[in-house]
Amino acid sequence: MAKGKVYPSAEQALADIFDGAVVLVGGFAGQGVPEALLEALSRQAVKDLTCICSPAMPRGRQSSGFDVARLVASGRVSKVITPLLEYPGANSVLEQQRRAGQLTVEVVPQGVLAERLRAGGAGLGGVFLPNGAGTRFEEGKETREFDGQRAVLELPIRADFALVRAQTADLFGNLIYQGDARNWGPVMAMAAAITIAQVDRVVEPGGLDPERVITPGIFVHRIIAAGGATGGR
């Protein structure tokens, strides 16, 4: 449906999230993180969420906003799938919960995660990737040779929800981003049953140059307008 996408609040956009849901969270090193959605999610009465994000942990002065670590600290998450749980030596709540056995962590190479999400979003059965051939990331997976190079079959990821951050949306859900805060937004938006975009502002149809739209509205189901420290102005 192309209509009725704008929700009055993050809470209402997340009202139907459920126990055990698989949630994609956009953002990279604290940039392009859907902070208002994560904060609202931390207050929902749900548990055992699986969070897929890259990397989970911001650092330095970008970490002032609400991030995946704070969502995990709220006790809503039982599993994180990520290329980088935290920057080395950070000893965040993520690593503490993992050591305490409260959080399951699955590490996945960043480019493999990107292609698994793209395969999920594009309806592919899987992709053969050269990454990880002959390493522990190959274990238990089908392999094939292409032009003498071994490749590993990686399966698609489809999630229940994607939470992404963009700069501006129009009422139909078309999105534009700011700088490299774009990062995971476009690929995650494709790979979820329900994609919720947190944007700085919403404009009428025609308010975005269609030549500049990065994520077409067909991939975006819900929009909330919320300002914040990162992800566009």
Binding site: F28, A29, G30, Q31, G32, S54, P55, P58, R59, G60, Q62, P83, L84, L85, Y87, P88, E95, R98, V105, V107, V108, P109, Q110, G111, V112, A114, E115, L117, R118, L129, P130, N131, G132, A133, G134, T135, R136, F137, Y177, Q178, G179, D180, A181, R182, N183, W184, G185, P186, V187, I214, A229, T230, G231, G232, R233
Partner: protein, 223 residues
Amino acid sequence: MAEQKARLDRDVIAMRVAKELPDGGYVNLGIGIPTLVSGFVTEGSMVFFHSESGVLNCGPLAEEGHEDIDLINAGGQFLQPVPGMAFFNSAEGFAMIRGGHVDVTVLGAHQVSAKGDLANWMLPDRGVGNIGGAMDLAAGAKAVIVAMEHTDRENQPKIVQECTYPITGHGCVTLVITDLAVIRCTAQGLVLEEVAPGWTVAEVQALTGAKLAVSAQVKEYQL
């Protein structure tokens, strides 16, 4: 004692790496010593830095007070905007890497083997490891330069016959630049090409866990 002799510092390693970057080439820098390389690009040469955070043609690091919150590198550091940048999403960023469009990547390492195997994402007994984009870079970049200290904190060799830490990529390393030496990975094994000032070939070999062939043109570290 070899252990007490002065070694080159991280900036000098980065300076030496920068000499390897092709004019007009697309280059991805890892975290640590590799991050420093962007500050030493040869004058008159133009290198296009790729960051998997989603920016091509990254500028130098931003000055304090002039940070753009939507412009960072893969290490989360703020960048200066420069003319001719392009932004892209993460899947495109890794398509650039995996698709063979990146000429050189510079990575840190825990170990490099005699066959050019790279181990740089996990130390045993240290959490779940930090794979990030290293495995994609090892598999996809046309050349992989390792920039690292020659030995670990216990002064044990990081260049070894076989990696004992989990592998990032097999046979992917093309050149190793350390605080003691420049070593090329070839089909015939490791070839010592340059030695740090004040060090002898024998002293470098003594701190290396794999046999080094010595280049006929072996010389002092070139800056």
